[in-house]
Symmetry: D3
Subunit: 223 residues, 6 copies
Amino acid sequence: MNVVVQNIERADEAVIDGLAKCGVATVHEAQGRNGLLADYMRPIYNGARIAGSAVTILAPPCDNWMLHVAIEQVQAGDILVLGTTSPSNAGYFGDLLATSAMARGCRGLVIDAGVRDIADLKEMGFPVWSKAVFAQGTIKETLGSVNVPVACADALVNAGDIIVADDDGVCVVRRDEAAEVLAKAQAREASEAAKRARFEAGELGLDMYDMRKRLADKGLKYV
Amino acid sequence: MNVVVQNIERADEAVIDGLAKCGVATVHEAQGRNGLLADYMRPIYNGARIAGSAVTILAPPCDNWMLHVAIEQVQAGDILVLGTTSPSNAGYFGDLLATSAMARGCRGLVIDAGVRDIADLKEMGFPVWSKAVFAQGTIKETLGSVNVPVACADALVNAGDIIVADDDGVCVVRRDEAAEVLAKAQAREASEAAKRARFEAGELGLDMYDMRKRLADKGLKYV
Amino acid sequence: MNVVVQNIERADEAVIDGLAKCGVATVHEAQGRNGLLADYMRPIYNGARIAGSAVTILAPPCDNWMLHVAIEQVQAGDILVLGTTSPSNAGYFGDLLATSAMARGCRGLVIDAGVRDIADLKEMGFPVWSKAVFAQGTIKETLGSVNVPVACADALVNAGDIIVADDDGVCVVRRDEAAEVLAKAQAREASEAAKRARFEAGELGLDMYDMRKRLADKGLKYV
Amino acid sequence: MNVVVQNIERADEAVIDGLAKCGVATVHEAQGRNGLLADYMRPIYNGARIAGSAVTILAPPCDNWMLHVAIEQVQAGDILVLGTTSPSNAGYFGDLLATSAMARGCRGLVIDAGVRDIADLKEMGFPVWSKAVFAQGTIKETLGSVNVPVACADALVNAGDIIVADDDGVCVVRRDEAAEVLAKAQAREASEAAKRARFEAGELGLDMYDMRKRLADKGLKYV
Amino acid sequence: MNVVVQNIERADEAVIDGLAKCGVATVHEAQGRNGLLADYMRPIYNGARIAGSAVTILAPPCDNWMLHVAIEQVQAGDILVLGTTSPSNAGYFGDLLATSAMARGCRGLVIDAGVRDIADLKEMGFPVWSKAVFAQGTIKETLGSVNVPVACADALVNAGDIIVADDDGVCVVRRDEAAEVLAKAQAREASEAAKRARFEAGELGLDMYDMRKRLADKGLKYV
Amino acid sequence: MNVVVQNIERADEAVIDGLAKCGVATVHEAQGRNGLLADYMRPIYNGARIAGSAVTILAPPCDNWMLHVAIEQVQAGDILVLGTTSPSNAGYFGDLLATSAMARGCRGLVIDAGVRDIADLKEMGFPVWSKAVFAQGTIKETLGSVNVPVACADALVNAGDIIVADDDGVCVVRRDEAAEVLAKAQAREASEAAKRARFEAGELGLDMYDMRKRLADKGLKYV
């Protein structure tokens, strides 16, 4: 039952990079408000905005063995995504594992558990989104799996899905929907630029979106 | 992207009923300590112990429309399993929906959100495991999906997986592993009965499991 | 700034008792899904369903002095509602205060803090909805106010508002809207009885609420 | 029941600016340790210290429609304050709404829910205190109210009350008490400056506040 | 560093039983409002009220090995108290360990972690106060200690301290203070009986405790 | 029962400074993965890394009186460590107390409660690790103790124990084990430097730690 899936498919690099530019909020809207990981997933430092293909890890509580297994599966541009079989805030990942992951071109880590050595990770420029910052060490006793579907922070992530992460959190995009989502996200961005200019000029959303009549129909009273 | 998968496969009834008898803790151990839903999933009343095939629902926050869609897919012996695209404690489910679900033979609900009318549900004998008890009403505006894989309370649930639920919480068993898990769970139960008798007679785990030497080797000191 | 408002207006007794019968979920729906207190407010025992006029208390953290002041303001049929100026789980209320409150005809307590002596309170039949059960004692050093508007568990409660509480939680109804809300709640109950019968007979919500076309229009696909 | 109150009274600008200078901790003490919002309300970036008149919003869960309505009511120097009828961490507010609010002179947002686009908001210099950072989109289906009293993060806020917010959190001051609170806060600041100098010189609080005798009387033993 | 302290001193049995009769709230008050464990420690079923000598366990996260070691140290009338070196909700304890503990006369378990098989434990009459109910299995790989001081749910517990536990939670009493605390608790109970009678007769706390003048002096206004 | 222990022993200064250099994660590992405070203890600003001897405080909820008592006991190089007898997020400590503590050479504060004036504290360079940032004021009514053992954020801290704190959190080291822990921590650091170089060169943990055979033996399958 414990497997490592070795050859996963990845989305087109240009699509991935395009999604990174759009950012989490826009991508999430573009795919119908789906795919967000829970809001307790916070970056260990602000300012990073990345996208990459998910190498997924299903790990036991308090046990980080599978991270070593997963790093061998990483290709340049990938993002490690770890879910656990039982909740744990332990510090599964620190500067040594980050060094190893960076050596293989890994862009970052999304972990529904804890991380440590965050001062070092920030200095190294290795971004992590995690449930906790906690120095608690882990053991290497129990198997998990790599590149199987995992539940991570309330979201389902498949190996090869695209992960987008920035200061707002983390979003997952299905690989076979990525190109379409990118197109919608870029359209949304274009439309937002125009709206931004009108808002700056003082136009109200009430008028821009023609809301007044619908509000009145629903019964809103001005007093 | 919003789909209802209509014909799902279900595990053998005898296997399902066997798993119910074993209960959550034993089944979870029998499959290698995997498959538990998060411990915030609590029963609305104590004493129920059920197993059934999962009819899964992926629902938007604050919107219970998909429950009506899902109930049509329920067959006798099924359990509804609802995950959300974004966390919500709203009361997606109450006595009317329970009446409808029971009319189709539904055995219970596992919901990573809120439930209401719990006094009525208890009287009706319809067990629910939920994240919250909350009367907050929901709307019917946004689509979700039925019988797709869902992340529910930190666990991945596929349509047709077997759900086991009792006072200890909720566990999911993959359909194609169910028979093997049942065999292991039953073996475990048999072994536990023997151990229970020895414990009752005053034998210590230290002796029964032959732990003393290993403890000493690891460095435990008696003072 | 610390005041006790002595003469508050109360709603009609028949209206209050009518709301109690409808229960929290129905009343909350009848007033447009407003008025629920947060879902962390749980009863110390199941099975109570009450309604009454709110005697409100604004209390400092860890200090239950104002409860003594408030009890003097209680009339038969009232419910004490306590919010704090700063979060506290301390046990503001126990069996002695309950004895005093019951002697004045108080129907129960809703407290955004802790309660203790819950075994005694259950035996006495004095229901409490609280944020915590905690034996931590409080002091009597700092003033608060009685019968001023309070924020209690995410809801605004005015003195004389009607509180409805049952196993599903707590709901507040504005005094001047109470009769109208009752009428709507009773209409809702009547309508639900009819629906329940149809659900029991096996009719689906999809058909009863004529949802199929709207679902298809929104894009739901059956596969 | 859903209203927009259009003409609210505001406190004197000089009083508001004076309160901003004093900051949250001092203002809170000056009004008898009242008025703090819950400590889960955190700024999206550090270093902002603002005060302004509250334009209040009562919004349904997962629905940000009323923000558009409220922005029309904003005057230069106001702060938007949003409470919900049911808990929600959804991202009600992002860079477009901030652009619109800033165009009307809005100084910031206090929201008992989620916010998104925080990298943009920081760059724009639009401060927000929120319960969550979450990209989850909202809908525009259900009415709420504007400039009614709202329960926001455990505190009651009336339209026109003064909001003070800095890295320590958020405090609300009643409009008709604002001048008096400012006077007390400024007195407190003056007194603190003197104390700070004495502490720097090594004097102990035990001596400065003459605590030794009272500690001994209460029974403190040095061993 | 990992030790088992074998010969611990225990308090007088009559004192222990006397404390059980007084219950958690009274004992906690009698010792100056000290000794409560955090309010997240809840009984797995209501109605138990016990006291006993603490056999303490310091255990690693997700590892229940030390429970077997500790049970050997239990004498009739003891209560097991488990703290962890790192937070864990895993199910350290179930019906087999309970059988073993009961065979040695153990009165119950207080565990700052998870417990499972709660339906069985209730049937066996073995009370547990825990942070969580969770079926998650544990391993036996890492040493801890037995009968050393442990931090358990915010409280410091020494081996041989007296644990009092009931529906209100858990309280710890130092062994060398137990007799004095019992005397104070019994005095308190006597005094409460008299007060209860007066409250039942309708006397107000305001009068019984002579509070009116002090309230007025502090500035409370009746309006 | 309320005492101030005046003459506590402290570890060697060179040992303390050595531990500071190693940091929390390394020190925690070096002592067998023990001694971490709970992960909710977060620094009010990033970048501080300190170690010092603990001056411990056991304080009542919402009452900061004992901080004044404790500061008199501080010697240059000490760290204040505050646990409470009951959970409280109130702001026990701000810029005035920090001024006083710094005047005595205090290196920082670890507080299982709230802190305020964090903008000032950051400017002063006084680091604090706390459970909350909250401006809520406290009172001075109830005694606690100084330099007794305290439970602080799930860990037991004795007066004179060494506290190590950085961006990863807080760790406590027993005074009589400090030299040995330092030696192990330094050995660990040396070993990590070598590993880091190999990881940078692209070597995998699977090979460096010789894991492949053990993984296969446990049953891991590559597919």
